[in-house]
Amino acid sequence: MIEAINLRKSYGNTEVLKGVSFQVQKGEIYGYLGPNGAGKTTTLRILTGMMKPTSGTAKVAGFSVTEEPLQVKRRIGVVPESGALYEYLTPREFLTFCGDLYEIPEKILHQRIPEYLEFFHLLPHIDAPLSTFSKGMKQKVVLISALLHDPEVLFLDEPLSGLDVNAAILVKDLLKRLSSQGKTIFYSSHILEVVERLCHRVAVIDEGLILSEGKMEELVGGEKAQTLEEVFRRLTKEGEENHEVKAFVRALQ
């Protein structure tokens, strides 16, 4: 359902992606892990058609992201890291706007919006400006906007950000259910515990390269580690980080 082949992206002389390749099957939840600046968001932007790669190809839902970006965009739902809302709109207006862009039939759209808001306990706030919402409430609206058109593939960048415990559990359950219904989910996050529990397969990226990829057991077994966190730390230069921490603490003293 998602296929990236040798993706490269450069900003001037800086190469952010240095040949990233992976495949995600239908119904799979694919965890995409990496430290800050590893190239996660760049990959996500390329796959969602927001940005063109310097070289390499990518297909989502059978369409090339560079050749047929609009076809791709019609079939995906995206939860970006931040800034996805127009805060002067109400949830009803914002979701209607999003639904209209995906050309959801109006009857279905007007039926679906209250249903989804109800699921996330936001129905009482349907006509309140989004500017008055808390961070968690806003994140719920962003999630709804990504799900509204029933996409085949979901791209999530830190989707649990700002959510309270109950809402996070709700979303995790929802993602599992969507996956069992055949939706493909590309899950980019820093929260290793969630990725560990939720994702079928995981890729660890650092400095524009995928360092390791596979099912959870393969990853942990391959690195002779106990947890995903341990794998992550080893792959992303744990020793250097420890050294940096020590140096920083020394500087503080």
């Binding site: 969602t48 058609g49 965009k73 019609r74 996805a84 207006e93 706007f97 209209d100 862009l101």
Partner: protein
């Protein structure tokens, strides 16, 4: 010096750190000389400095208004839309098309508001044909520019392809942006530029609303003092009055949108009228009555258009801008139109032709400036992420945080370079649109501005730091008094001379305002009050 160099290195100006800023100083001297030679050359042709000054000042204000008008996400390609819309199924050309259409629509409405009082003026002074010609001119001008822009865009994209077009656009954008930033920079610093204004404004008073009223009174006073022509006085009086209102509204618009809205909201809540949002409901209802949605067959296009319309009426900054500009444009042109009078000596047979020509010229003048600025600003925002975007290096070149003479030289250099671009832009535009006379006036005006900037910067370099820096060396109460009192006395004297000699109500109004300013200054300078004001001011 070491610290200063360090700051500049941090700002990325390695060149400055190695050359010690003397190159900057040398450059500024060179440009000063250049401006001097240029202006001497043009002064020998034109002696109408003050008229030119007023024209330039008007241009600056109009430009400011245009920048405000186009500087909100409702009308232009907003960079923040990228994060919200780029992954949704909207093609960039559709986005561009809808945005440009809306810009054109609002430009047209705004141009209409702008010219409506003048049309009425002609209508009531028994020139109905001129009114018709005037309106026709607006229509033709608007549609001509819209069509040309759109056709130009499509042709260039088809001919050269998007990649090359992007590069060409980037270069143009760079030049336009530089010119615009130069205008904005000069406009913002217009109050600093005057050697009289500088001491007052740099004492932490520049954010006060009445500061915006000072220049207009000076212009009016100076003009009346030097130009012995009742018609010019009348026009200047109208202009000054317009500028007074305009300045005040610009101030409200630019300095107080949040606070103003909040205050308005509180008042409306107190009176039971509801939120200010309700004020816009009638406008929205009127628009909703127009069956425009039926005209747009493409659903995505319709959705985007509806959405951008909503934005305009919903986003606080947008709606305040919209409302204020409509009001301001009416007032502004109402004042300007008092100066529209045909010379008596013209043959009655030629009067009609003369009126039409002059009116169309005036219309074209304002609308063209508007379009050039709107399009430039649109391109600026549209391509903000391009590598040519100069915003980043402007911060390097103008290190506001750097507290040194070096920084001062950098500012001089920047002002000069920006002014040069502005000048080239102005010459190019005015030469082809109008006449050499206007170009000459513009050059003279900018020479005056630049010269006074240089003098001010060189005489008072330590006053030229930002508010946060001036906090460190807060001037004494005595110094403030020494500098401010002569400045106010200067303005009041000229206003008095003007009021007594002409007896025009507008100068009386200015006198009252200046008295008010004097009173505020006096209050400000009172040590106890000063402390209290500092406590409450942000």
């Amino acid at each position: 010096m070491k610290q200063n160099l360090g700051q500049l290195r941090l700002s990325g100006t390695a060149w400055a750190s190695t050359s010690g800023g003397w190159w900057a100083f040398a450059f500024s001297c060179f440009f000063l000389l250049l401006y001097g030679i240029l202006s001497l050359f043009f002064i020998s042709f034109s002696r109408d400095y003050f008229n030119g000054l007023v024209i330039a000042y008007t241009i600056l204000f109009v430009v400011q208004a245009f920048l405000i008008l186009t500087n909100f996400s409702g009308l232009v390609a907003a960079p923040e839309d990228f994060d919200r819309l780029a992954f949704r199924p909207i093609s960039s050309s559709l986005y561009f098309y809808v945005k440009v259409s809306l810009i054109s629509f609002f430009s047209f409405i705004w141009a209409l508001c702008f010219s409506f009082p003048v049309t009425l003026w002609y209508l009531f002074t028994s020139y109905p044909q001129v009114s018709a010609g005037f309106l026709l001119g607006i229509f033709l001008q608007t549609f001509f520019i819209i069509s040309l822009s759109m056709l130009g865009y499509i042709t260039v994209v088809k001919r050269f392809g998007k990649q090359k077009f992007q590069t060409v656009l980037d270069i143009f954008q760079f030049l336009f942006t530089l010119a615009l930033l130069g205008i904005a920079y000069l406009q913002q610093n217009l109050f600093r530029i005057s050697a009289i204004g500088t001491p007052i404004l740099l004492q932490g008073l520049r954010d006060r609303w009445w500061v915006f009223l000072l220049p207009s009174s000076w212009f009016a006073s100076l003009t009346a003092f030097f130009v012995n022509d009742p018609m010019v006085h009348l026009r200047i009086a109208g202009l000054a009055g317009g500028l007074l209102t305009f300045s005040l509204l610009i101030y409200i618009l630019t300095r107080l949108p949040g606070g103003y809205l909040m205050a308005l909201s509180e008042v409306l809540k107190e009176t039971g009228a509801g939120s200010p949002r309700k004020l816009f409901l009638p406008f929205q209802s009127i628009l909703n009555q127009i069956p425009w949605e039926r005209w747009i067959k493409n659903r995505t296009q319709r959705t985007l258009t509806r959405f951008f319309f909503t934005t305009i009426f919903r986003e606080p900054k947008s709606r305040m801008t919209l409302l204020t500009l409509v009001v301001v444009s009416f007032l502004f042109i109402l004042f300007l139109s008092f100066g529209v009078k045909l010379p008596e000596e013209i043959n009655p047979a030629d009067r009609y032709l003369f009126s039409v020509t002059r009116t169309l010229e005036r219309t074209m003048y304002f609308i063209s400036i508007f379009y050039v600025m709107a399009v430039a600003h649109f391109l600026n925002l549209h391509l903000q992420h391009s590598r040519y975007y100069p915003a980043s290096w402007i911060y390097y070149v103008v290190p506001h945080k750097a507290s040194s003479i070096l920084a001062c030289y950098w500012r001089i250099l920047f002002t000069l370079v920006a002014s040069l671009f502005l000048l080239l832009f102005g010459v190019f535009f005015l030469r082809f649109a109008f006449s050499w006379l206007m170009v000459q006036e513009l050059i003279v005006v900018f020479w005056i501005l630049i010269l006074s900037t240089q003098l001010t910067y060189l005489l008072y370099p330590r006053f030229l730091f930002s508010a946060s820096e001036s906090e460190e060396r807060k001037p004494s109460h005595k110094l403030l008094m020494t500098l401010a009192v002569p400045a106010v006395a200067f303005s009041v004297t000229f206003a008095l001379i003007l009021s007594l000699s002409k007896g025009l109500p507008v100068f009386g109004l200015e006198l009252i305002l200046l008295t008010g300013i004097g009173w505020v200054l006096w209050r400000k300078m009172e040590p106890g009050v000063e402390k209290r004001l500092e406590d409450v001011e942000v």
